[in-house]
Amino acid sequence: MNIIKKRSWDISSSEVTPEELFNKRRNFLKLGAASLVSSGALIEALAKDNIPVANLKYLKDKNINNLKLNTYEQITTYNNFYEFTTSKTAVQDLAHTLNTDNWEIEIDGLVEKPMKIQLNDLTKNFTIEERIYRFRCVEGWSMVVPWNGFSLADLVKFAKPLSSAKYIRFETKYDEEMFPDQSRGVFATIDYPYVEGLRMDEAMNELSFLATGLYGSTLPKQNGAPLRLVIPWKYGFKSIKSISKISFVDEEPINTWQKTNKREYGFFANVNPNVDHPRWSQKRERVLGKFLKQKTLMYNGYEKEVAHMYKGMDLRKFI
């Protein structure tokens, strides 16, 4: 029997013009343009928010869960990017030193053909789509972001890993000119370069995503331009920014936060309201822009898609 599974980002064959278009004459032009490239949720946001003109072409996300998007401003002015500063509001002003021109991605380790490739040449190989995902930070705040990018599984297939590759290891670029905190030696906030990792089945999961944009335009520097990982069922620190190296390895990588404090941060970092951080509860979260909190969902609301990968694992032990 062939079961057709409808995914939240599938495109229905009967795309109709969103009815907002008929009702909002004032924004007709802007909206008219937006409707060619974006979903209904985006149109609402575009109408009232100062978002850069969309410059990406992508497949739309139907947003079947009706997630309410955070504004472009909220997403781009509240960032954890320790390479610049630990202040989440100051990153936007400092991030200009990040130079994304001629960005190279190195793919190495247990692959058929290790390579160094220009990012533009790499992304040509993939379908760019939109994914509207919840994003939950380990610190207890969250947002909903319309990312643009491509499926991580597609990149894995492109890289042709050997059967001995069990994990993927990601590395943020190391460049003291671009990232002030990297040049602070012993006074640096964390160890650089930032490292993250995924088990191969996690990487191949349909939700795992590499983002090159948000809200239909190129990823802002403070959000991890030009290429970042987005793993929506894990705490935000897993979604490594400004990737320059992707390695296929046979051992579980030690990610930066685990190395910094392994009692508090683990390799898996799955969003789990029932397992507290040693210093604070993870039961609830504050959506940016809201004053009161909401309940945190198991696996950040993606239980259906990911729970099977962690069957039989002690989630208190494998944090």
């Binding site: 509240y78 509001t89 610190e139 602070r184 040693p278 210093r279 822009g289 004053f291």
Partner: protein
């Protein structure tokens, strides 16, 4: 004149906090912002209150030490109210569970209750009786410092400088105490 000056300085953080949140509304995570501003204010003011007895020259603020201490308590109180009302939304079972479970929370709570005790016994009549117990402010400051370090995901340069400053202050105070003791012995 001095009193007015103290009031103005001490209320600055509250003014900053209120205008940012209520008027500019440009704070992405208001509860965290309230934690930071009230926590930093309480810490800095309480350290100021113990510095007063270190420097009696050029200006002697001894007369205003109680007032400054009370402002320290005031910000600590706002900090706690933020936790109880906004963060935990008056869920007292959750608050008690968290307080018993997490060192980060119970250190802060302990410090707060020391300050509360000092505030209650800061009236002229009670202070005479409980004066010696006001030495507990040093215990509270140690707890607050640990609580502040624990609040960080990792320590950056600025925070490192605060911590170094705290150690310098602690050293000066110790030195002062030792010198005073020796004077008494003579």
């Amino acid at each position: 004149m001095k009193r007015l000056f103290i009031y103005l300085i001490m209320l600055l953080p509250l003014v900053l906090l209120s205008t940012q949140i209520l008027y500019f509304e440009n704070v992405a995570d208001p509860i965290k912002y309230i934690y930071t501003v009230t926590g930093v204010s309480a810490t800095v003011i309480l350290f100021l209150s113990i510095l007063i007895s270190l420097f009696k020259k050029p200006i002697n603020f001894m007369k205003y030490r109680r007032l400054i201490g009370l402002f320290g308590f005031f910000y600590a109180f706002l900090h706690l109210i933020n936790f109880v009302v906004f963060d935990a939304e008056l869920d007292f079972i959750f608050i008690i569970e968290e307080t018993l479970d997490k060192p980060f929370i119970y250190l802060g709570m302990l410090a707060f209750f020391i300050l509360l005790f000092m505030t209650i016994t800061s009236t002229k009549r009670l202070f005479k009786k409980y004066k010696s117990y006001h030495q507990f402010v040093y215990v509270a400051l140690i707890l607050i410092t640990i609580h502040f370090i624990m609040a960080q995901k990792s320590i950056n340069i600025m925070q490192l400088m605060y911590i170094v400053m705290i150690f310098i202050i602690a050293y000066c105070k110790l030195l002062q105490k030792i010198i005073e003791k020796n004077k008494k012995l003579r």
